[in-house]
C-alpha cells in the first residue's frame, strides 16, 4: 500500500510571516467583512502595513473589523502611526474619532511627542480629546500635563475633562491647582462637584 498524503494545511495554519503582504492588502479591502478581519489581524505582523491599516480604519464600517484594526495598529505603534491617528481626531465620524482615541491611549511613547500640541490646539474639542487620551495614558508625565491644562486652559469643558483625569491619575502635587481652579469657575455646579470629587479621591490614595 502506498503512502497516503494527508489533507493540505488549512489557510489558518499557514504561519503569519508566510502570508504575502500584497495578498493581505487585497484582502483588507475585500467586500466580505470576515476576509477583511483576518487580513487586518495578520497585517499586524507586518511592519510595512501600518499606514494601510490606518487607511482601512478610516474607511471601515464594520465594528468587528475596526476592533481588529485597532489591535493591529496598537501592535504596530510608532510615532508615524500615532501622527496619522491624531488626524482622525478632527473627523466628523464619531466611531472613527473614538477608535483613534482608544488606540492612542494604548501607545504612550508613540503619542507623547504630539500631545503638547494637541493640548493647546485652537479647537476646544481637540483639546478635550487630547485630555481624554492623557487621562488614561500610562505615561509618567500624564499628571503634569493635566495640571498644566487646569492651570492655563480657559475652556470649562477642557478643564472639567482634565479634573476628571486628575481624579484618576493625579497626586498631591495637583491639589493646589485644583483648589485654584475653583475660583476660576466659581459659578459652575459641575466644576465644583468635579473638583471636590478629585480632591477627595486624591486624598484617599
Amino acid at each position: 500500500m502506498g503512502l497516503v498524503k494527508g489533507p493540505p494545511p488549512a489557510a489558518e495554519a499557514v504561519p503569519l510571516a508566510a502570508r504575502d503582504i500584497d495578498a493581505l492588502l487585497i484582502d483588507l479591502v475585500a467586500p466580505d467583512s470576515g476576509v477583511r478581519r483576518h487580513a487586518a489581524r495578520d497585517l499586524g505582523a507586518h511592519p510595512d502595513a501600518a499606514m494601510a491599516l490606518c487607511d482601512r480604519l478610516q474607511a471601515e464600517t464594520s465594528s468587528s473589523v475596526r476592533a481588529v484594526l485597532l489591535t493591529s495598529l496598537i501592535r504596530r505603534q510608532s510615532p508615524a502611526v500615532a501622527a496619522r491617528l491624531t488626524t482622525f481626531l478632527r473627523s466628523d465620524d464619531t466611531p472613527l474619532r473614538n477608535a483613534a482615541i482608544e488606540a492612542l491611549q494604548e501607545m504612550p511613547d508613540a503619542v507623547a511627542p504630539y500631545l503638547q500640541a494637541l493640548l493647546v490646539d485652537p479647537d476646544s474639542d481637540i483639546r478635550i480629546f487630547a485630555v481624554n487620551i492623557v487621562a488614561t495614558l500610562r505615561h509618567r508625565r500624564a499628571p503634569e500635563w493635566l495640571t498644566v491644562v487646569i492651570r492655563s486652559d480657559a475652556h470649562v469643558n477642557v478643564c472639567a475633562a482634565a479634573v476628571d483625569g486628575l481624579s484618576e491619575v493625579g497626586g498631591p502635587d495637583a491639589l493646589a491647582d485644583l483648589h485654584a481652579l475653583r475660583h476660576r469657575f466659581a459659578d459652575n455646579d459641575f466644576m465644583e462637584f468635579a473638583i471636590d470629587t478629585a480632591i477627595r479621591r486624591i486624598g484617599q490614595d
Binding site: D92, I128, N157, V163, F190, M191
Partner: protein
Amino acid sequence: MSRVEPFARNPNDGSKRVLVVDDGTTMRLFYRSVLEAAGFVVEEAANGVEGYEKALAQPFDLMIIDINMPKMDGYSMLRAIRADAAVRATPAVTISTEAGDKDVIKAFEAGANFYMVKPVATRELTEIACLITGARPQ
C-alpha cells in the same frame, strides 16, 4: 433645543427611573447626585454597549446619553434603541461638549428628544428630567 413629546408614564408609577450613560466617572456621579436629590432612581452605564444592554434589560423613564464614548458612541446607541420595538419609545436626552448645529441635528436624527451642552447646571438637568418624565421636583 427640544423635540419633546408626551410619553406614557411608567406603569409602576413611583420614582422615575433614569439611565445615565457617560464614560466619565465624575460626570456619572454628578448626574446621579443631582437626579437622586430630585427623587429619581438612577442606573449608570459607562459606554454605549453597556447602556444599550441595560436599556433592553429593564424599563426606564428617561435616558441621558453622552455622545463621545468608547466602544459605542451615543449616536450609535440611540439608533440601536430606536430600532428596537420594545424600547424605542424611551425618551432620551443627549449631552455633549459639542454645541454646533450639525451636532444637534445629528443627535435628533439618531433619535434624541432633547440636546444639552456640557457643562449642565443642576437646575437645568432637574427641570428637563422632570419635564420629560412628568415627575414632580422634590
